[in-house]
Symmetry: C2
Subunit: 604 residues, 2 copies
């Protein structure tokens, strides 16, 4: 049971004497919730006619009648027979994916009943290193809900294949394990490193294990042979990269927790939950998470409530689905005595809902305080004072010109067969495509008819002036346009995709001026933008504002001819050199099937 808590929130032992006094009836509770149906995730029961008593933000009594805990100052909340369920836990997620700071992310998800998040600030780690992780961690601890931080493990994600703003070292991990809000190691994405016993990866995992914390996993390969077994033997304790029932079951059988995700663009629950609903496996090893959610999803669709509802819609028993978003998660992180169930001593994170299947989030209590009602956040989510170093991170040597995006074709060619990154609708993996493209004036040209654009990776951490040019297919862009983003997993340089080199230069230069974000240019003008001043990744504006800007951006992408769902996320993942098949990095075009660089031109 790691002592991971906000420094300002007392531990159970700190307040045990008072909790005992309330439960015994010798002292009044701060709050009593009366006459609800207790959803018990330990025994898997719904028990009508129960009261809760709360003191110091912790549950101190759950029983048939908390009358003996009520004093003149005790606040009474009437559950009126509604279900009382534990606050929902997101077992693995990246706050940066919402393009929001932790405070604004919390403000967005609290009305959805999320009261605990296990967040891996991997994105900022690539931009700002350990210092960035600490800023995220510190803002997390300021919030009225529980935001536990997983120390990022892989910056760079794929050493040798990309250059990040900063690198994370085993020494960084060792230091982070001493911070109060660190719950474990973030997803160990460098699975070839683990399989090959890379001493650096092993040292990070050892530092985590020695601190008694949980090692997050990420094995994004369909290979379930010796490489998979070697990864498991290395120590990662969970995996959220599985997409099929067989993959999820393989993780659970090997003693890992299988995390099933429903993010804005991940739909991995339906295909795996049959392990429970059809195969009848013990659900304790299965956990729900989001991994990545856009601000729009948070504003319009929900967060973990959306995931739990979806699991129920897939045929899962509602209490089993809730276990996978509460107790299973708490157990996994060694926090069973702290969160994840409505039982004495735990943080009083409670949702009142009148229906266990549709799960309307009517009243959210976190640490004993009402934080949201009927979709409205009623609590302050304090902002961290982000340092200048976090707000000025687009570090380019100079403005770019169209020439920076030129791709010289091999001498004397009129067309060239190229390796093209193929975006796949609704999936993170790309396809390695071959396309034959025209050459004009010695330069390779994008080809709207084949839906092939240019893509460029613009270095933005060390002002090297580096621009790597390649090709991408699948966006469907028509006419002169370009879109640029400093959200460019995982190294978070700048990705520019366009049909026109002049527009690409304009978009890139605009982001430089803006200090980071996303911008779409077309017909010579900016059509939409989302400023992301914090690390070029996050906005400290409310989720609704960011969602509206992001929606405008999506509309602008559609206006430019893009028909993909989640087109923005697809854009931002094109440099993710740990997920197959083909990606771009600041060092070149990467074949992630082999973890080797490959040439743009097929024949060279």
């Amino acid at each position: 049971m790691p002592q991971t808590t906000s420094p300002t929130f007392p531990s159970w032992p700190d307040v045990a004497a008072d909790l005992i006094a309330v439960a015994a009836g010798r002292a009044p509770a701060d709050t009593v919730i009366k006459s609800g149906t207790w959803v018990n995730v330990h025994t898997r029961e719904a028990l009508p006619d129960h009261d809760f008593a709360i003191r110091h933000g912790r549950i101190t009594y759950v029983g048939p009648d908390a009358g003996h805990c009520i004093g003149p100052e005790t606040e009474i909340i009437e559950a009126d027979g509604r279900y009382m369920i534990p606050g929902l836990c997101d077992a693995h997620m990246h706050i940066e994916s919402g393009m929001l700071t932790p405070a604004e992310f919390a403000r967005a998800v609290i009305p959805h009943g999320t009261t605990s998040m296990f967040t891996d600030p991997h994105e900022i780690a690539n931009v700002l290193g350990l210092e960035g992780v600490r800023m995220m961690h510190d803002e997390a601890l300021m919030q009225p809900v529980n935001i536990f931080t997983q120390m990022p493990s892989c910056a760079p994600s794929a050493p040798g294949l990309e250059t990040t703003g900063f690198e994370i070292t085993p020494e960084d991990v060792t230091e982070a394990m001493t911070w109060p809000g660190i719950i474990g190691l973030g997803e160990m994405m460098n699975f070839p490193g683990v399989t090959n016993a890379d001493p650096k990866m092993l040292a990070e995992m050892a530092a985590t294990a020695k601190a008694g914390k949980t090692i997050g996993g990420h094995y994004a390969s369909p290979d379930l042979g010796p490489a998979f077994h070697a990864y498991v033997a290395g120590g990662p304790a969970d995996d959220h990269e599985t997409t099929s029932e067989a993959e999820g079951i393989a993780r659970a059988r090997q003693g890992m927790r299988a995390m099933m995700r429903l993010g804005s663009a991940w739909y991995d629950v339906e295909s795996q939950i049959t392990a429970i609903t059809e195969k009848g496996l013990d659900p304790r090893s299965f956990i729900l998470c989001t991994d990545d959610c856009h601000s729009g999803t948070l504003v319009h669709d929900g967060h973990m409530n959306r995931v739990v509802r979806h699991a129920i819609d897939c045929g899962c028993d509602p209490i089993v689905a809730l276990q996978m978003a509460t107790l299973n998660t708490a157990t996994h992180f060694g926090l069973e005595r702290e969160i994840g169930s409505l039982t004495p001593g735990r943080r009083a994170d409670v949702i009142l809902t009148s229906d266990l299947k549709t799960l309307p989030i009517e009243h959210v209590i976190a640490r004993g305080k009402t934080v949201a009602k009927n979709g409205t956040c009623l609590v302050d989510c304090p902002h961290y004072d982000w340092a200048d170093s976090a707000r000025q991170t687009v570090n380019m040597a100079r403005d770019l010109t169209a020439e920076d995006f030129e791709i010289a074709a091999p001498d004397g060619t009129t067309e060239v067969t190229c390796n093209v990154i193929g975006v796949v609708e609704n999936q993170a993996p790309t396809k390695a495509l071959k396309r034959t493209l025209p050459v004009r004036g010695g330069l390779l040209e994008p080809d709207e008819q084949q839906d092939v654009c240019q893509i460029a990776l613009v270095e933005r951490h060390r002002a090297t002036g580096g621009v790597v040019n390649a090709l991408v297919s699948g966006f469907g862009y028509q006419g002169p346009m370009a879109m640029a983003s400093t959200v460019a997993h995982d190294s978070h340089h700048m990705i520019v995709v366009g049909t026109c080199r002049t527009h690409m230069a304009k978009a890139a230069n605009h982001l430089r001026a803006l200090g980071g974000g996303v911008t779409l240019w077309r017909d010579g003008h900016e059509q939409a933008s989302v400023p992301l001043p914090v690390a070029g990744l996050m906005s400290d504006r409310p989720a609704r504002e960011v969602a509206d800007l992001a929606q405008a951006l999506t509309t602008a992408m559609q206006d430019a001819g893009c028909t993909l769902n989640n087109a923005y996320m697809q854009h931002s993942l094109l440099a993710l050199v740990v997920i197959p098949e083909l990606r771009i990095s600041d060092l070149g075009l990467v074949d992630v099937r082999t973890f080797e660089f490959t040439d743009l031109f097929e024949d060279t």
Copy 2:
């Protein structure tokens, strides 16, 4: 995940590189188990045709074919289709109850497939304090199986009601939490202390929680009202004192683990397992344990294998029963990544059995080595070099005489109605009886016709010369006899029960000479004895020898007229002033319903 391991056994991170190499097929395993049926306690499945590979005593590969892990030196064990189940865990137990040292206890239970024990050396703590706990802890860590130590919490068990050899303080607990083999706090028996927020008890629990370890519980009261809720709010995480389905369910619902015990004299599984088999509750919060086993049980009936079989006989699904003796226990103590399932990285504690229902323990592997086959222990269980302080613990001021056991009746009485301790067959609680006894020559006399003997508590820790006399009913002794024992839970003074004061003195003096143990005298001669030289509690002779001596003692008790099952244990529990209703201590007769002293005579 506490780093609780033998200093001589490498941690997973210590050997991760080698485990990875074997799983990947780059290096040979030490041992491969071929072609078994993998009992997977994570998913609750039995999966035929699986191989295990083992390296450095840890599992490194589980899959369909470990051929790639086999080198010329690899030992091959053929499972021949048999079930491969995790080594069994006893979640709460007292080694001293077997009257054996940890080494001899381990030697007795290894052939039964017990490979992990969570032991609370509470008895020796009362006799020798922290030093005694350390000796037990150190011998535990020398063994070839996993003996985790729970730091005793309550010596004395009921402060103010008894005087122990040593007291355990919060400072002791804080120190013990730094020892390598300490897994948590032993059963918090002082439940009135917790309910009343006794600062000492709270400090012990806080020290445990702050060390990230598990607080053991013991709430031995049928009261499920505010007192129970106050106890839960205090922090204990489990309870093994429940005897009914309702009590077990109450613990599980409140977020504690309900430990169901089948000891030599505890039969608490059948009455509680219906929570799972009939009520269909999630079994994850239920755990099996023994609490107390005699050497005879270990030699003739088994250990945790007996408990699991019994659970299956009660209608429990075999894999669910195994979960309650493996994974559930590991999870409870934060050891999920170390023991409790047959998955990579965990200690290779494996049982081969050809039948999942009758559970014959055919082959036991602990930490990768064969330790038993077909009931025979094949491994050395090293003895600790017990200090003289641990071998000379019967510290009486002088030999006693019959006069020491005289009970003066109130002046002028010819008979007196007395409060008599009533032994209840097959139960730990006693009854507070009233019996009217004759007075002869001013002295109260025991009465065979009413089955009332004398009982005396002889002080043996500080040579105070104290003897407390009282009355007990239920043994059925006939004719002049006495039985004395230095096993006298929990303060472990000496309990002498007899029909004759002369015999009582003889028995007590004999134990003084022997350095502790149990002895039965009748018709002027010793009939049987069990020498227990270590702390007056344990023998370092093999279990079979001790069991034979104990059997001879039982026969002698029967010959003396006693018809109770487990008569010896009933004898040794008569000073246990934490279990209702009436008990004896060195300070007097105790009514455990009120935790107050009471008079021997009803009217005074």
